[in-house]
Point group: C2
Chain length 343, copies 2
Amino acid sequence: MKKINVALLGFGSLGQSFAKLLLEKKDEIEKIYDTTVNVVAITTKTRGNLVDAWGIDLERVLNNIQETGVIPKNNEMMLQRNSLDVAETVEYDVLIEMTPLELAAGHIATNHVMAALKRGKHVICANKGPIAWHYKEIEALAKENNCQFLFESTVMDGTPVFSIVRDNLKLCKVTEIKGILNSTTNYILQGIEQGKTAKEVIAEGKKRGFIEANPNHDIEGNEAAAKMAALANALMGADITPKDIDFTGIKDITKEKIQEASARGNVVKLICRAFNKDGSVQVKIGPEELSKMDVFATVTGTSTAISITTDLMGTMTIIEQSPEIEQAGYGVFADLLTIIKGM
Amino acid sequence: MKKINVALLGFGSLGQSFAKLLLEKKDEIEKIYDTTVNVVAITTKTRGNLVDAWGIDLERVLNNIQETGVIPKNNEMMLQRNSLDVAETVEYDVLIEMTPLELAAGHIATNHVMAALKRGKHVICANKGPIAWHYKEIEALAKENNCQFLFESTVMDGTPVFSIVRDNLKLCKVTEIKGILNSTTNYILQGIEQGKTAKEVIAEGKKRGFIEANPNHDIEGNEAAAKMAALANALMGADITPKDIDFTGIKDITKEKIQEASARGNVVKLICRAFNKDGSVQVKIGPEELSKMDVFATVTGTSTAISITTDLMGTMTIIEQSPEIEQAGYGVFADLLTIIKGM
């Protein structure tokens, strides 16, 4: 049986849901792919780091976090190593970057990714920063070192968006992308349409765990811009960063505007678009009024949607219906299976 | 450069659209996959057959059909061979079955497919008959002979349905399928909703080329049942034929029923469902009343849609927006690229 050593940078809810999948599917991975997955490092920002070449007991770690909030303290603990040290020195085959998104320029995550690729290691990146801000150089480095660089979970969790174009739309050229990609803003717009104020919806969303403590990056459109830069770079051959994107969030959308739209039989949605214009890829993000008969009008709650138009296959729309954190974990898991299959 | 020899059984609009793609993408296939595709046989029911080990000039054949309606007569022509002879004797690497669907039991196409697999040849099947009626035995034969057996274009043209589960939802178990898979009935229901009679819509659809000369198989639900048997067999591990499916078409749907639904804010759609019940896969097809806010309510014209629910990824909905014949040709083309990649 083959063994694949994996280092996990970041171990929040995404990392934990991925770890649960690894445990749950251990036997199937061994049976179908003739491979054991061995987690040799876990790093966190505030809850300690673990390094163990013999393999970390994920069940113990998950239980400990559940009970105490931190990673178990014991022999393997190597606090002196930060996550970049781990990326640069630990012996692993695949680095999985799951640290929190920094919207400014994605430097920390990018450094992790580049450190691994320079060592000839495969990389799975669940952090959209590197793909939004530094895609071209990372992609070039991955090619140069003959490494896989996968990042399915950065847009629409585990819904195959990048891999559908790669695996299932072979030789198709993506000419247009349209999406509702930020569920926080979509949820807020829906709440306002139902007669609540933005403040009320945000408070409710926070309580239910859909909306982050500080949702400004969602509301202002930064999060959607990072996703669209990632999509445009990876699927349309663009070389842009979020700075190049013309984006407006939903800050200026009032109850009155939404009610006026509703009276016309329409809804307001934050629509992301990428398209070719004058020989380059343009990206626009802003609120649009859609007919209630439009497929995007039916995307509510925490669901997200994307339409991908290609030269050979016309327009295909994919909707992820009411995802939970497990679906993001699956995105990382599917990338890992792709790497295992290719080894 | 590798060379792959391909035999095309059936050369109607699907076969021609596939052949056009082969011509159009010749250089890219050579460049990206280091492979030349050589068509060594084309068979048709009434328009002659061609066999040429040196490779048939597709451009000449397409032009000739356009101008005269038949395949060009010349040296390569071997009228004495029928399509089963070709499947059994011609030297090819991949058989592409594109003969018309026989809804009774799919015998002719199944014989072609089995003949190729027995000889250790890969098979692409654009005909849903074999997958609906004889999936288990064909799949077993393919495994035994270490051959690929692909059939992406049988449901929703080239939209990745089978390949998404195979390639992108690795280790996921499909627990439910829901779809609007027959565009003829969907188009008729939409027309009735707009105030036309079924007869008027059918006449209009025939004129515009959406609806076949004899749409009874669509209206009675047979065509949808063949697709659902294929999906249940290939994606849910079922072992069923269309005979095992509880299906109703749209024959009993009247203008009044649709208008009553409309007054309730609903639409009527022919919904296909497959699900696990009492340890086996059940399939049901029949008209259902849906809220206008339902994503399936937005599927109109010639569009089709499928929701695939899995244990690990929840529910994902894929919509093919207003396909043309080119999209079906792409389904066959994508299967061929999958085989080329794996060779």
